[in-house]
């Protein structure tokens, strides 16, 4: 009985690993369905890894992305951020707080008349750049703004 159970666990464990590996592979090539939560990206601790998970290793700096955020945020637990992309055919907007333990905070896919604009409140651990990554026509653009944080919001 016990032996059976062990075998079963072993098997299911192995199957789980394969599924995970598959997911990771999918996400790396940037072909993950929008409905799939970007686990690799949200769990990466370096900005470069987060960018890779979005398929945006080398985004181009763009002045057509406007980040509206306070210069100084007294409370890092609630920092209002708005991102407006004036780039035509904006498909998605991602927001990265560069010095957070897990930098990637969110990805927004827009379609069917949804404008290249989102407004959100995020937690920021310490003074850092807030970076927006915009995907438009399959290409990636970026802009950043520094937000000074008096009291960190990740504790």
């Amino acid at each position: 009985m016990n032996q059976l159970r062990r075998n079963f666990l072993k098997l299911s464990g192995a199957a789980g690993t394969v599924v995970l590996a598959l997911c990771a592979g999918l996400i790396k090539t940037g072909e993950a369905l929008a409905a799939t939560w970007n686990k690799a990206g949200f769990e990466s601790k370096a900005v470069a890894d987060a960018l890779k998970s979005l398929g945006a290793a080398n985004p181009a700096e763009s002045k057509d992305i406007v980040i509206t955020a306070p210069d100084i945020a007294e409370n890092g637990a609630v920092v209002p951020i708005a991102v407006t992309s004036k780039i035509p055919n904006t498909q998605s907007i991602s927001i990265i707080a560069e010095k957070n333990p897990f930098p990637l905070t969110s990805t927004f896919d827009v379609a069917n008349g949804g404008e290249g604009y989102v407004s959100i409140r995020i937690k920021i651990g310490q003074t850092s750049n807030v970076r927006a990554i915009v995907k438009a026509d399959g290409r990636f653009y970026t802009a950043a703004k520094e937000v000074k944080v008096t009291i960190g919001g990740c504790g």
Binding site: W37, G113, G114, E115
Partner: protein, 106 residues
């Protein structure tokens, strides 16, 4: 069932300005309770906004979104009376869906 959302959609020109307030603890998994035990992660992972049944925004979130999340967006080509519906799903599989109609500008 989770607490209801507050959704406000108003027409501005030919676009609808949508503001959503969700009630959710958005635990990061880094905070400790008074007993010194880590409060497990509990956060909204996915938010889908539709306009008359068509998806206009499909968002993926991490635990870095603030507690009781606020989300603002705009939808072009909207009219008064159009239906906006919002659904979120959290990492524990809990869900909440609410609807609102686009109101005329005040």
């Amino acid at each position: 069932m989770a607490d209801p959302m507050k959704i406000r959609a108003t027409l501005q020109g030919d676009a609808a300005d949508i503001r959503i307030l969700m009630l959710h603890p958005m635990e990061t998994g880094q905070r400790k309770d008074p007993k010194g035990e880590i409060v497990p992660m509990h956060f909204i992972q996915s938010v889908v906004v539709t306009h008359n049944g068509k998806t206009v925004l499909d968002a993926q979130w991490s635990q870095a979104i603030s507690r009781n999340p606020f989300l603002g967006l705009r939808v072009q080509g909207a009219k008064t009376g159009d239906k906006i519906s919002v659904t979120w799903t959290d990492n524990k599989g809990d869900k909440r869906a609410d609807e609102a109609v686009v109101a005329a500008p005040s």
